[in-house]
Symmetry: C2
Subunit: 458 residues, 2 copies
C-alpha cells in the first residue's frame, strides 16, 4: 500500500482537512488564496483548486465568489455511552484437522465432479458473451434453465410443472426467506422433529411461529400436526432427515387431505437428496400427487453437484405466483447469470443426468460396501439407507449415544447422534448415530467404518 | 421426452399402481405370484420382483414372507374447499422493446466489460481445480477475497476494516435480510424519503417498522430522524439516491453523534455507486469517520461490474459479528465459490481497479457530453451529476412531472420522475426527472438527450 503515490492535490487536501478537523482554522476563517498558495508551494494553481474543490465537496470549506474560500461550520463528534471497544474474536482453528474420518451429512464426494465438462461449458458461455448475460437478471431466474428443470422434474420426479412456477435462488436460506415473505410471517409453521436443524433455525430467524411435530414409522404424524394448529408444514418425504424414513402413499394422501381442508394450508416438500435411490426408481415427489396446488416443492444442486454452487429452486403453486410477482422486482435473483447459463448447458446437454447416474452408482458402491461391513456385526443395524447419502446406525448395547460419539471421537472419528437433530424439547427416541458417508472416499471407507464400529463396540 | 424408453419393471409397476389407485384391487387382496406373472408375461421373475419392490417402497403394497404380496390400506385423496384452478398469468411481453431509449438507473454499460480477462481468470480457477472450491463454503465468504476487499476499502474509501468484519452475500436482498436478523425485527428502522424503492420494499418485506425521513440540502434530516424514534437508519451519503446530494461532513458528524448517544443505534451506509466520482477523489465513506462501531457499510459489484454478478458485501461493527457468528452456520454464503475465486483474482491482479478507472473515464465522457447538451437549454438544470450514474434534471416550466414523463414516452423514451421515489405519503418536493444514463451507449447519447429534452420542452 505504501507504493501508491498520492497526487499532490490529495496531499494538500489532506493537510487542510486535518488542520480544520483539529481546529487550527476557525469557522468562517479565510483560507490562503489559490494564487498565494500556489506561489508559496511552487505548485500549479490548478492543483490548489483541485484540493479546495475536494474540501468543498466534502463540506469542510465553502467558497464565496470573488471573495475566496472559508472554513465551514464544524460539528464535533461526541463519543457516546459505549466506552469499551469490542474486540474481534478470532476463531480458534477449526478442530477439523484433528479428525481422521468425518461422517458428516453436509458434504458430497467431489472426486468425480466433471471439471473438464464444466470448464468447457464455462468457456462456451464466456465466449458467446451475450450482453444479456451481463445485464439482465430475471428475478425468477433464466427462463431456459427453468424449462430444463421443469423437464427434469417431469422425467425423474413425476411432476407436472410449468416453468413459470419455478424460482431459482441461492439455496435454502434465500428460498425459505423468500417463501416466508410470500406466505406471510403471521402464518403458523411446522416441521419434523427430529429434523433439519438448519431449517429450524431459518424459520426461527424469520421470526415465525414454529411447531415441532414428532414422527412414526410412516414419517410426520398428521394427528400431531392437526393438534399444533399449524397451517404450513415443512417435510422431507423422499428420505426423512435424519431418520431416512420414506413416506408411504397412505401418509402422503393423509397430508394432502389435511392441506386440502383449508385454503391457507400448504406443504413444503424438501426433496434434498431424492436423486440418490439405490433400489428401483426414485420415489415420485409428493408434489406429483397434488392436484389442488397445495405443495411447494424445494430442491438444490447441493447434493447432486456440490454445496459450493449455491443454486436451488422452488416450485410454487399457481396462486402463490401472483403474490411472488408483486415482490420479485425488489428481490431479484440471488444466483449469478454466469452460473445459470452454465447450469442450463449442463442440463440441456444431458451432462447433469449422466453425472447424477454416475454419482448414484458411486454412492451405491459405497453403501453396498458399508452393508457388507455392518453385516459382520450382529449388534449393529442400519436404517434408511435405501436412499440418500446418510443412514441411521442403531447399536444393540447399553452404551449411551453420547458415549458412542465420544468413543468415536477418541479414535479421531467425527459422528453425530440422532438426539442432536431433536429441536427444543427432548422427545423420546431410540438412540442412534447419523452416518453421512458421502464425504469419505471409497478407498478409505472400509477402514473408517471398521474403526467407527470397533470404537463403539469396545 | 417420448424417446425415453421405460424399463419393463417400471411399466409393470405403473400398471399395478394405477389399478390399485383406481380401486381395481381391494385392500389386502393378494397380487399374482412372481412366478405366475413372469410366466404369463414372459418376463424374468427379477423384473416382477423389481416392480413389486418399487410398489412396496412407495407404500402401495406390502409383503408377507412365504405368503406373497398384498395391497396396502388405501387413503383416498379428498379435494378440498378450493374448487377453481388458479390459472398461471403469463405476463404480457415486456413493453421494453417499444422504447427507443431508456434512462434507467438500474443498468450499467457493459460494452467495456473485460470479458477476456474474466474468461482467463475463470479458466485459471477451473484448472487449479481445488477440492476446496467445490466443497467448503465459508458462510462469510472466501477469506482471501475478504482481504482484498478490506484493502480496497482502505485505499479507496478511507476505511479501516478487519477482513473478519466483511460478509459476502448475493446483493442487497440477501444482505438486508441477514442484517435484519442480526439487528432484530423488533428494532425501529428508518430510511431517506425520497429514497431507494427497493430498500423500502426489502425492509417492509422483512416486517419491520420503517419510518420515512425527509431530506434537506445536506441529505437526511437528523431532527426528523430523532422525532421518528427510529434507532437504525439506512442512508446513501456518498450520492443520495435519487437526489444525488453528497452529504457534507457536518451532517455526517451529526448522524454519528445521533448514533453514539444510544447503544442500540446504528447507521447503515449504502455506498452503491461511490466509485464513480468525476471530480477529484471519491468522498471518503462515513464508516471511516466512525470510531464507535456504529456504521454498517454495504456495497455491491452491481454498478462496478454488472448487476448479473449478484455479489455484494457488508462490513459489520465488531459487536455485531458475535451475533452473526451464532447464525452464520445455517445461513451459509449465498455466493458461489467459483464467482468468489474469480473475483478474488480480479481484485488481487489489479484488474478491478483498472476496470473501475476505465469505467469512470467512460462515464465521465458521457456526463460531460450531457452537460454540453443541457447547456444549450437555459430552462434545464442538472443536479447531483458530480458522482454516480444518474442525476436530477429540473425543468423551469409549468409542465407537470407526469406530463413530462408521458411526453417522453410518446417519443419512445423511458424516464422516471422524482415523485416515484417518494414512499407512502406525498411530501412536497420540486418536480424533477431522474436520469440514469449508464445504460445508453455513448454514440446514441446525444440523440437520446436531445430527443428527451425536446419532447419535454415542446
Amino acid at each position: 500500500m505504501e507504493s501508491v503515490k498520492k497526487p499532490i492535490y490529495v496531499e494538500l487536501y489532506e493537510q487542510f482537512k486535518s488542520m480544520i478537523v483539529e481546529g487550527k482554522y476557525e469557522e468562517d476563517q479565510k483560507l490562503p488564496s489559490k494564487r498565494k498558495l500556489s506561489a508559496d508551494l511552487k505548485i500549479s494553481p490548478l492543483t490548489v483548486e483541485a484540493a479546495y474543490q475536494q474540501l468543498i465537496a466534502e463540506g469542510y470549506v465553502y467558497s464565496i465568489e470573488k471573495s475566496g474560500y472559508f472554513v465551514s461550520k464544524r460539528v464535533e463528534v461526541i463519543l457516546g455511552v459505549k466506552e469499551s471497544k469490542v474486540k474481534i474474536e478470532h476463531h480458534q482453528k477449526d478442530k477439523k484437522d484433528d479428525y481422521l474420518y468425518e461422517f458428516n451429512t453436509n458434504v458430497v464426494d467431489t472426486s468425480l465432479f466433471p471439471n473438464s465438462t464444466w470448464a468447457k461449458l464455462s468457456r462456451e458461455v464466456l465466449s458467446e458473451n451475450h450482453h444479456e448475460m451481463l445485464n439482465i437478471t430475471h428475478p425468477e431466474g433464466m427462463s431456459e434453465l427453468r424449462v430444463e428443470i421443469a423437464r427434469y422434474l417431469e422425467l425423474y420426479r413425476g411432476m407436472h410443472v410449468d416453468p413459470s412456477q419455478i424460482i431459482i435462488g441461492s439455496g435454502s436460506s434465500s428460498l425459505i426467506g423468500l417463501l416466508v415473505e410470500i406466505l406471510g410471517r403471521k402464518e403458523s409453521y411446522a416441521m419434523e422433529n427430529p429434523g433439519y436443524s438448519k431449517i429450524y433455525h431459518l424459520f426461527k430467524g424469520n421470526d415465525v411461529h414454529l411447531s415441532l411435530i414428532g414422527l412414526d414409522e410412516m414419517g410426520i404424524r398428521v394427528d400431531k400436526l392437526i393438534e399444533s394448529n399449524a397451517n404450513i408444514v415443512h417435510i422431507t418425504p423422499s428420505h426423512q432427515f435424519p431418520t431416512g424414513v420414506v413416506m408411504p402413499i397412505q401418509r402422503r394422501n393423509e397430508l394432502l387431505n389435511w392441506a386440502n381442508e383449508k385454503d391457507n394450508r400448504y406443504i413444503i416438500e424438501d426433496d434434498y437428496d431424492s436423486e440418490f435411490r439405490f433400489q428401483g426408481k426414485p420415489i415420485p415427489a409428493l408434489q406429483g400427487l397434488d392436484y389442488n396446488d397445495k405443495v411447494i416443492y424445494m430442491n438444490t444442486f447441493t447434493k447432486t453437484l456440490a454445496p459450493s454452487f449455491r443454486m436451488g429452486y422452488m416450485v410454487l403453486p399457481r396462486q402463490l405466483i401472483s403474490i411472488y410477482n408483486k415482490i420479485k422486482g425488489y428481490h431479484g435473483c440471488t444466483v449469478p447469470n454466469f452460473e445459470q447459463y452454465i447450469m442450463y448447458k449442463f442440463m440441456k446437454g444431458g451432462y447433469f443426468e449422466r453425472h447424477v447416474n454416475r454419482m448414484k452408482n458411486h454412492y451405491r458402491q459405497k453403501i453396498e460396501l458399508i452393508i457388507k461391513i455392518v453385516d459382520k456385526y450382529p449388534k449393529i443395524k442400519m436404517k434408511g439407507y435405501e436412499s440418500g447419502l446418510h443412514f441411521l446406525m442403531e447399536v444393540d448395547s447399553n452404551i449411551s449415544e453420547e458415549n458412542m460419539i465420544s468413543d468415536a471421537r477418541s479414535n479421531k472419528i467425527r459422528v453425530t447422534g440422532l438426539t442432536s437433530y431433536i429441536q427444543e424439547d427432548s422427545i423420546n427416541i431410540n438412540k442412534a448415530l447419523v452416518i453421512g458417508y458421502s464425504g469419505i472416499s471409497i478407498d478409505k471407507l472400509e477402514q473408517a467404518m471398521n474403526l467407527l464400529i470397533q470404537s463403539i463396540l469396545n
